[in-house]
């Protein structure tokens, strides 16, 4: 979506969602090109939780959107490289993205901006023409996250390097929203925030944890191929090549790019769900596993993360204590890799 000075982005209203339990309140709205969902108990905290989430999402969009001309990230790109003093929000977002790149050995890399543009993902996904006859441009491997120097809020960005924080931004948004809701509600009760299926929870969970469906696509929830898990703390996120696909010159493309080649990842796993201490960790790990391809199991095992991998043939592999049957809790580790390796503005936590 290309914006102009006259364009205003409206905030979609929250819609109450009835899930079958009176003891929690759930609401949903469109946000960041996907769906945001908030679940909270006690139910009377819903309005406060939604307002806190709105603030977080609006701020994140204005900081890190690649598709808004008025975002801080777009301003960096327009400046064409140099030395910048970032706002706290973008500094944290970029710090988390760089820490994720370091943790995953570059499997997720925030310098894939030009690679995505070359593939045709150059605007808000909803505005992409899904089928076009001409092929995409030649693939552009990522220049590499090590070229980007971030010292606190001070950024040195080489000219020609275009950033995309998609591998960590939704997870970061869910984490931020959970922290904001807990602060707004006085740490009473519990909250779950989902951004496009990347879920963080905080506070006191329901007994046995928050019931969460694991599915490859939103429409698949409730099907026999889905699984119910329970999450008491931490986060769970899913990355998949089954959504956000488009066609160029007869070739189907998707949004998870291998930074090493600039092409869509083409490994044996089409969907990976991972549980971790935070949603940014889980988000990065799930995407890294898709990109890692045949090495995904080794990488996830070394990282010590519970994960569920679904192959293109439908085969499901569960690692690191991920339950094989429905109804069981997800084990999560207490240690975050991306926040401990990132600069966090004072007072953010």
């Amino acid at each position: 979506m290309t914006t102009s000075a006259l364009e205003l982005i409206t905030v979609a209203p929250w819609q109450r969602v009835w899930t079958g339990d009176d003891s929690v309140a759930v609401a949903e709205r469109d946000a960041l090109g996907t769906t945001a969902r908030v679940a909270v108990w006690p139910p009377e905290d819903l309005a406060v939780a939604c307002a806190a989430t709105d603030d977080v999402l609006s701020a994140l969009d204005l900081q890190a959107s690649r598709f808004r001309a008025d975002s801080e990230l777009s301003w960096l790109h327009a400046a064409g490289g140099g030395l910048f003093l970032l706002g706290d929000g973008l500094a944290e977002a970029l710090g988390v993205a760089l820490a994720a790149a370091r943790w995953t050995g570059g499997l997720v890399d925030p310098t894939v901006g030009d690679a995505l543009i070359a593939l045709g993902y150059d605007r808000d996904f909803a505005a992409i023409e899904s089928v076009r006859g001409e092929p995409s441009a030649a693939p552009v491997p990522a220049p590499g996250w090590r070229l980007v120097r971030l010292d606190g809020p001070l950024l040195q960005l080489p000219a020609g390097v275009r950033l995309d924080l998609g591998a960590t931004a939704k997870g970061l948004g869910s984490d931020r929203a959970v922290w904001a809701v807990l602060a707004a509600t006085g740490q009473v009760g519990g909250v779950l925030v989902s951004l496009g299926g990347d879920i963080a929870v905080g506070g006191t969970p329901p007994r046995d944890g928050w019931p969460i469906t694991v599915a490859e696509e939103p429409a698949q929830a409730g099907s026999p191929r889905s699984q119910l898990v329970r999450l008491a703390c931490g986060a769970v996120a899913t990355s998949s090549v089954t959504c956000r696909r488009w066609r160029r010159g007869g070739t189907v493309l998707h949004h998870i790019v291998d930074p090493r080649t600039g092409r869509p990842a083409d490994g044996p796993w089409q969907t990976v769900s991972a549980a971790a201490a935070t949603c940014a960790d889980a988000n990065a790990a799930a995407t890294a596993a898709i990109v890692a391809g045949p090495q995904a199991e080794d990488w996830l095992t070394a990282a010590g993360l519970p994960a569920r991998l679904v192959g293109h043939d439908g085969e499901v592999r569960c690692l690191g204590g991920w339950p094989t049957a429905s109804g069981y809790p997800l084990p999560t580790t207490p240690v975050s890799h991306v926040y401990t390796g990132a600069w966090i503005p004072r007072g953010r936590r």
Binding site: G190, G197, I199, P206, T213
Partner: protein, 141 residues
């Protein structure tokens, strides 16, 4: 003679101790029964108190066994009953130290579905609302 005064065990009451009143009384069968009854009452009281305390303790442990303690369920990796605290409030089936019982799924972790992007433009003083809807996935492959 002691035997004549009833001091069978050789004890002699001190003056003014009150036992003087009993002086000359011989412990009868009735005294024995009274003492036995007193012992029985104390034993019964102790049993009642002990039983009550045990019942309270058992009830306190039994409640949270139905659910898991906050924050510990995920790290344990099993689903069987965990200990914890729970204090259900009158009139609700929720709250207390642990959260409510939630049985239905509240969210789905999945690939990012794309929904609707709504934009509002101001053109020549008029507000133009545009909605762009995208199908979740292309089924052409």
């Amino acid at each position: 003679m002691d035997a004549e005064r009833g001091y069978h065990d050789g004890r002699v009451p001190l003056p003014g101790s009150g036992d003087d009143d009993r002086a000359g009384q011989i412990p009868t069968r009735r005294d024995g029964i009274r003492q036995a009854r007193r012992m029985t009452n104390w034993t019964a009281a102790a049993l009642i108190v002990g039983t009550g305390a045990a019942a309270v303790a058992l009830a306190h442990q039994a409640l949270p066994a139905a659910g898991s303690a906050a924050g510990t369920a995920a790290s344990a990796g099993t689903s069987a009953g965990r200990t914890g605290t729970s204090a259900g409030q009158a009139g609700t089936n929720t709250q207390g130290a642990s959260g409510p019982q939630v049985t239905h799924s509240v969210a789905t972790t999945t690939a990012s579905g794309v929904t609707v992007t709504t934009t509002t433009r101001t053109v020549n003083g008029k507000t133009v609302v545009t909605q762009v809807r995208h199908a979740p996935a292309h089924a052409d492959d």
